[in-house]
Amino acid sequence: MTNTESTPRHAAGGSKRPADSITGGQLPKHSWLLILALGWGIAAGILSVTDVFSIGGTAVLGMVLFFVLHYVASFAVEGRRRAADRLSRSVVTTFFLVALLPLGSLVWEVVSRGVARLDVAFFTETEAKTHIAGAQLGAAHALMGTLQSTAIAFLISVPIGLFTAIYLVEYGARTKLAAGIRFLVDVMTGIPSIVAGLFAYSLFSMIFGPGSAYTRTAFAGAIALTVLMIPTVVRSTEEMLKLVPNELREASYALGVPKWRTIVKVVLPTSLAGIVTGVILGIARIIGETAPLLVTAGYFQLTNPNPFSGTTATLPVMVYQSLRTIGPTAEQLHALGWAGALTLIIIVMGLNLIGRLIAWKFAPKTGR
């Protein structure tokens, strides 16, 4: 902040304020640090005197005091408008930090409790040996189940999602039907995950009967996940296809290439990176889902190789189940559960990262 900058602001803002000095309307650059320390100090003092001292209380009260003091100081020196500006800046910055606090705490808790069991046995063993004291347990069964249900959901929802998006952009364009389908995709985006699970359960229990081995399976779970994944794929693919310049299509048509080959050879390759990103983010969306799988796939302590018959463990459900265990095996299973939670976070964040990297690397350059 230089003096030349401050002068016009001052003139515009505080007409009542005497402009006696050229630096008169400006708080020193790092004064906010001092005020922050002052705020926290006063807060700690007040709380100690009233005998309800706590670190959390001091932090919160200190921040409030900081806002007030900073505003008052700025108001006195710089005027109302600058004071409001400073207040808004400190408030939004604080909000940002407030959101990072739980994220940090969460990641720290999960990593510190889960990293110990993220060993080889975690990926190779199952919970089959819970009856042997001290035996290595693992999450292979849950990883297998998650792989099954996610893979099936992927195989169903990617073709449907892709072709729907192609229809919306290339064939339907501005027809009433396309508008209707777009609306339905929006509706689908809003389906709560547990409702998707209930749908898959009702579907299968009406076909096979409530207690049948075919009712609660990895496949039923995959159907529930499909309902959640399709709209993500459609929306992102549609956006990507729209970005393909029409000149490319027209050039292809002019060379006599039929429409379907134009789509396959020109439109899709052009937008491939974006589509892949959309699909990856779609997988990231469903791979951590717990509620629908709790209702559909259920739980099983061993690897269930058949996705069409019998309940199956999945990673999120395993985390939920194992951390609810009590009794002699609880300690072992809790460690397993935290390792599972860590694995989930790593998978989801990794998928997000990969998706973004692809999007960023191949993104068409835009103005802003």
């Binding site: 009856h131 004291a133 009967g209 207690g211 302590q301 009794g327 095996t329």
Partner: protein
């Protein structure tokens, strides 16, 4: 080596389907280390013996036995590589329905079939002329747990427990509590009741007990859902109750006894005699109760006597199997599996994994005899 021999004998006995149930009971010292010891012994043993068994059998029922059945099925399949046996913990009602409709070959349930329902012909899983056998295989005491800093156990009568859980006794230093616990320093704090918010057999059993011993205070019949929801904090499942009580001072709750470590535990009884929720005391109250009369031979429904000597809040879960199956292999598999779970080894495994109370020798003998009567 002796332990290994005894345990291996028990296992061999179970696998060979020989009628020696009473003989294979272990001494307490055996039961504690048996599962760990047998794993090495069983590997050589099972390969030769288990070849006789193969096939697939499905069971369904009470979730109270979830952990125990999980351990039993896993161990049984490990010892008998040709067998695939499953137990879906879908709930007692689902299990009983399952065997009636023929979906599963055996069921698990927290209550036995009533005499009226247990009629030949009403079970699709069984032969047309066969009823089912209710076999007590899993006994689990329910403990009243509390969190009073510095107090590890309190004496309570059933009536006092009912008053506390209903909210009629408001504070820990109430005269009714102090009277039964001379010498214990009780704080002047409100009691916070923690109950199971989900449907549960534990709640049903606990409320059944309260209604049985203090009907004037506890005027609600036994129910899977807690009746007096206004005056307490609900918690999900056993671990929810346990962690709420463990983390909140001045709370009281009820859980399966296996989960009662690290918090205060109430001793129950009357007339100056109070019993801890130990496996022995739980098994004792079952032995001191009578079998329901008027049932077929081998149909062992226990009529719990809540006033009997021993720890009175006990959950008995039954394995329900047909007296006669159509398919010989199914009969053989069910017999082998039930023989295993009701053997000393199976009971010890459940005690270690799920914290249940092993069947007494006497009950084990009765169950064994009943299982042997199953045929095709």
């Amino acid at each position: 080596m002796k332990l290994r021999a005894v345990a291996a004998l028990g296992l061999t006995a179970a696998l060979a389907l020989t009628a020696c149930g009473g003989d294979s009971t272990g001494t307490p010292s055996t039961t504690e280390s048996a599962p760990a010891a047998t794993t090495s012994a069983s590997e050589s043993e099972s390969t030769s013996d288990a070849a006789a068994l193969s096939g697939e059998v499905a069971g369904m029922g009470a979730s109270s036995m979830k952990v125990a059945q999980g351990a039993w099925t896993a161990k049984f399949m490990e010892d008998n590589s040709g067998v695939r046996i499953s137990y879906a913990p879908e709930g007692s009602g689902a299990g009983r329905e399952g065997i009636q409709q023929g979906k599963v070959a055996f069921a698990g349930s927290d209550e036995a079939f009533s005499i009226e329902d247990n009629k030949a012909g009403s079970f699709a899983a069984c032969s047309a002329d066969s009823g089912v056998l209710d076999l007590p295989v899993y006994i689990s005491p329910v403990a009243i747990i509390f969190n009073l800093p510095g107090v590890e156990s309190l004496n309570m009568t059933g009536e006092l427990a009912a008053k506390i859980f209903k909210g009629d006794v408001a504070k820990w230093n109430d005269a009714a509590i102090a009277e039964l616990n001379p010498g214990v320093t009780l704080p002047d704090e409100y009691i916070v009741v923690v109950y199971r918010g989900d449907k549960s057999g534990t709640t049903e059993n606990f409320t059944d007990y309260l209604h049985a011993v203090a009907p004037s205070v506890w005027d609600n019949e036994a129910d899977k859902e807690w009746p007096y929801t206004d005056g307490g904090q609900p918690a999900q499942q056993t671990d929810g109750v346990k962690s709420s009580v463990a983390s909140g001072p001045y709370t009281i709750g009820y859980v399966d006894a296996s989960a009662a470590d690290g918090v205060g535990v109430a001793h129950l009884g009357k007339d100056g005699k109070f019993f801890a929720p130990d496996p022995e005391q739980a098994a004792a109250v079952v032995d001191n109760s009578e079998l329901e009369s008027g049932r077929a031979e081998g149909d062992l429904a226990v009529k719990l006597n809540r006033e009997a000597e021993g720890y009175p809040i006990v959950l008995i879960s039954y394995a329900i199997a047909c007296a006669k199956y159509d398919d010989a292999n199914t009969a053989e598999l069910v017999k082998a599996y039930l023989t295993y779970i009701s053997s000393a080894e199976g009971q010890a495994l459940a005690a270690e994994q799920a914290g249940s109370a092993p069947l007494s020798d006497e009950m084990m003998g009765k169950v064994k005899a009943a299982i042997d009567s199953i045929n095709a």
